[in-house]
Amino acid sequence: MSTSQTKRDYSLTGPENRRAQERGLAAAEWYETPIPRKRLKELMKRKDGPAIRDTIVWLVLLTGAGIAAYRSWGTWWAVPAFFVYGLLYASPGDSRWHECGHGTAFKTSWMNEVVYQFSSFLVLRPATPWRWSHARHHTDTYVVGRDPEIHQPRPPVWRIIIMQFAHLYGGPRDIKRMFMHAFGVIDKEEKEFIPETEYRKTFWESRAYVVIFAIVIAACLYTSSILPAMFIVLPSFYGACLMVVFGMIQHLGLHEDVLDHRLNTRTVYMNPVFRFLYWNMNYHIEHHMFPMVPYHALAALHEEMKGDCPKPNRSTWEAFSEVIRALLKQRKDRDYTIRRELPPTAQPYQYGPSEVSRVRGGTETTTA
């Protein structure tokens, strides 16, 4: 663990990338909780039923909220109605994008792909680049210079955090990239993780997004109203707040540059409504350690793993306030890291690639 107060370069094209490779942190072997093979196979088993049910429920709720929002347009009731519509658009959009990107939500491949493409547009993420970005995130989770999805650097940039609650940092960045892709341009950072064979697909997906944007803008001009955009595109911004909370509690405040998801990832107990919206990604240590276990089996996986993991946060609020406290401390001490005790039944933490770095109890922080 670095003790330097020097600001690190979190880009994928800077010196930290090579440093991570030299330290054996890139594409490394990560710690895995031992689970009997037979049980793991049961947990990895794919089903269509739960995801079909949840997708129907989601779309019915979204349609219902949309009708209520449409009918209330022009009254003050439109404010809560569109707020609910936005939450149902962006938060499940994000979680369905995520889970279908892993290819585990449905057993049937084309169903994963259809919902992946649909939800990628809802959250304005170019589908193919983000698929590859997320693959890298799983390979090198919170390894500086390698992971393109580190939510915040140390110290955090509060301007970006606040902007993100209305998707005003990531949204414009992804829209800019979408237009670049539509014109056949891939930026330097994306070239780090998208293979050239995927460029053509990237360009055509972005062109489809641009066409949808053009239709929405034309509809707004034709009706002389912002209403069409309130249903398509803008909910990604005004409905983003819960998605941001879910995203922030996944990893922030925990370790960087380690090879054990128990050190850099947070599992949080959530209420059933949030678990539905988030598709059980509150079991985030479990998801990172065994990403091919579908969302509907994560609660059962948690039961298998909990004796080997630190205690989960007891609520979304507890996790979020823990993150905010950690980020505030990192303003003055960029190395501030939340340290979690392991239960006596757990295997020691794996801080780095060598045996020397394995330390029991989580109270020391040596690295290889």
């Binding site: 594409a27 037979k38 290819g103 698929r131 693959a135 799983h138 065994f290 990403p291």
Partner: protein, 107 residues
């Protein structure tokens, strides 16, 4: 480990469940040995061609092996890529079963 004209004894046939995979290491190389639903045996290189993740921890569905990390998929009977992020085919190896033992030829 029995060796005969580059045939290596990898495991007992019963060591692998139907529709499953196990790891077999030999010297500095690593392989994945598969048993299909029909109790046919196959062998491929052990690591996914996308990144160094061992396929023996993956999930077997019919003739498909899925990488446990990124959902890359291969037909383990031919080594052909079936799903990104894997882009390069897996190398396959001849397999025979004799007297309840699985042998692979890596030469």
């Amino acid at each position: 480990m029995a060796q005969d004209e580059n045939w290596l004894e990898a495991c007992a046939a019963d060591d692998i469940d139907e529709e499953d995979v196990i790891r077999f290491d030999y010297e500095d190389r690593s392989f994945a040995i598969y048993r299909s639903e029909d109790s046919e045996y196959f062998a491929t290189d052990g690591h996914c061609t996308h990144e160094k993740v061992h396929l023996a921890n993956g999930f077997v569905m019919g003739k498909i092996i899925e990488c446990p990390k990124h959902n890359g998929r291969f037909d383990y009977t031919t080594g052909a890529v079936k799903k990104a992020p894997a882009c390069v085919d897996l190398k396959t190896y001849p397999v025979k079963v004799e007297a309840g033992k699985v042998y692979i030829r890596i030469g």
